[in-house]
């Protein structure tokens, strides 16, 4: 455990460094140094992060001890005192072969993160070398009308992040292009809204897994004769279908609940039906549409992991599942790394959407 504590300290140092960087930025913004704001904006969040890591560390240690005691006890009952002593010594020595399998400590997770980054560097270098090696050959193959040789090695963790982002982006676009137009049409007509309401209410709560299976049934048949990447198609369509409901409902609501004053203006100005939709109804429902899109994006990112996991599509979801199946010594900590990365990316996506929302809508007070 000693080692982990020292690593923990370096981690703290790094966090302190980040805090200093944040502080310098803060200072640039307001030349007057305000202790109260500094406390509230830098020290308090920092303290809460440290508290979180501390609690996690203590919890992981406790779980580690329970697991270790159980292992020693089992050795004692199965093979006698000598084996138990050997097991205790083995655990204490930190040997990989006998480590208890439980919640990893923050230090282990940090270590795994570094391992994954190092692994990524190795794989990228490998990829680059491969590209250089095959460049001439590929050119020749293309000129001959053949497919170029592509790198088929294992994707790194970072590559998988981008694959996942790619899938989410495709799914989000699909959701956008389905939900917004349908939402507008449904919102404009009471009759259509009543006609489709049951469908929305019934399909909205359906689990991502079921959507995946449904999409699988259809896509499997549709792509029978093609050699395209059906796993990607299945996962992005499922993500889109799961996530589009928030946008659909919000768009329909935004369009149907436009302020009556604005409708009166449209009537008095005698705008045509299309002008009325594009110049009055849509702008006034933009804030709600964007709220829906924000929810859609975060739902898409959330269900993506489950869907990738089941669809065998490469990405963060399958990374997590493979690591779990793998059961290697550092698998658990890699899963936790993935968890944090998923969380951080999700947070960033939400922030991006919020920024866009504030840029396009007249309603400037949208917040998290």
């Amino acid at each position: 455990m000693k080692q982990s504590v020292t690593v923990n300290k370096t981690q703290e140092l790094k966090l302190a460094g980040a805090a200093k960087a944040a502080l310098s930025k803060f200072k640039v913004k307001s030349p007057k140094f305000d202790l109260k704001t500094f406390l509230r904006k830098v020290i308090v969040p920092l303290a809460s992060i440290l508290l979180f890591i501390g609690l996690w560390h203590i919890g992981a240690k406790a779980l580690f001890n329970i697991e270790a005691d159980y292992k020693i006890q089992k050795a004692l009952t199965d093979q006698g005192q000598a084996a138990a002593n050997a097991m205790a010594a083995c655990i204490a020595s930190g040997d990989i072969s006998c480590q208890p399998n439980t919640l990893p400590s923050p230090a282990q997770v940090w270590e795994s993160f570094n391992t994954l980054i190092a692994d990524h560097k190795v794989i990228s270098a490998d990829k680059l070398a491969f590209k250089e090696k095959t460049a001439a050959l590929n050119e020749k193959r293309i000129s001959e009308g053949k497919d170029p040789i592509t790198y088929t090695g294992r994707p790194s963790f970072v590559d998988q992040n981008f694959t996942s982002l790619n899938t989410v982006f495709a799914g989000f676009l699909l959701a956008f292009f389905i939900a917004v137009p349908i939402g507008i049409i449904i919102g404009l007509s009471d009759t259509l809204r009543n006609a489709f309401n049951w469908l929305i209410q019934v399909f909205k709560p359906v689990s991502p897994v079921v959507w995946l299976l449904l999409v699988f049934m259809i896509v499997k048949t549709m792509t029978k004769d093609s050699n395209s990447d059906s796993a990607f198609i299945i996962s992005f369509i499922s993500v889109g279908l799961c996530a589009m409901w928030a946008t659909l409902v919000n768009t329909a609501m935004g369009v149907s609940s436009v302020d009556k004053d604005y409708i009166n203006v449209a009537k008095v100005l005698k705008l045509g039906p299309l002008q009325k939709v594009f110049k009055v109804i849509l702008p006034s429902s933009l804030p709600l549409i964007f709220t829906g899109l924000r929810i859609t994006l975060s739902v898409a990112w959330m269900v993506l992991i489950a869907i990738e996991l089941l669809a065998q599509s490469p990405g963060l979801g399958s990374f997590v599942w493979e690591e779990f199946q793998n059961g290697a010594n550092d698998s658990n900590s890699k899963i936790i790394v993935a968890m944090f990365i998923i969380g951080i990316i999700g947070f960033l996506l939400d922030r991006i959407m919020l920024t866009i929302q504030n840029m396009v809508s007249f309603n400037k007070n949208a917040t998290a």
């Binding site: 004053d261 203006v265 100005l269 007249f362």
Partner: protein, 279 residues
Amino acid sequence: MAYLELKNVNKTYGEGKSATEVLTDINLTIEEGEFVAIVGFTGSGKTTLVNLINGLLKPTSGEVLFKGEPVVDTSHERGVIFQNYSLLPWLSVGQNVAMAVKVAFPNEKKAFIKERVAQYVEMVNLSPAINKRPKELSGGMRQRVAVARALAMNPEMIIMDEPLGALDALTRGNLQDEILKIWSKDKRTALLITNDVDEGIYMADRIIPLRPGPRATLGPEFKIDIERPRDKTELNDNPVYKKTRNAIIEYLMGIGEERKAISKKLYELPDLAPKSFVA
């Protein structure tokens, strides 16, 4: 032929048992170039009356005739200034006005539209704020934008639904003068709905009280025989002004008393005495 004519107009909201009769037996004639004010209590159905005239609502029975033709829809000939400004918040001042100009002059070039927008924004003294959003403006400025938007469409008749109701006294006075100036410049027909008798007397040729609803109907008209341009400060000493004002207020108060008399029901209060904490 009267310019605008309302014949036995009734307006009922809802149907069957839940129907509420808002306006009953409204008869009104406005001649071309006239400035008519309708004065009434809040909730007496003034906005309903306005919407019937501008074409947003249809009468349940009776006829609304504009230049002899029944009103079936809104028209660019009748410009409306709404009570709550109704500016589109995502457009700037200029864009709000431009939207109206574009639909009123669909065949004109961009330069014409731009010039007309600038001209009308200038007219209401908002040129420095032409690129601002309604949210950044004060209530008076917003109402001026609404005035500019309505007038930029070059309507033959201006219908104003308590346009100055939400403004403070000073801004109100200024805008009254501005509206009068515009009205007298090319003698458009104007209908002003207001709850302020003084405003009506200062601005209008005729004042017609609206008896409070439900079943609201128009009362007898009061002619304002005061020469234009009227001066606000001198108006207070004008005997005609005093007489007319008193007559209108007396009439309105009379309605108020009548209303009270109707609701002179006795309510029996429960026999409760406050608890004594001393004993």
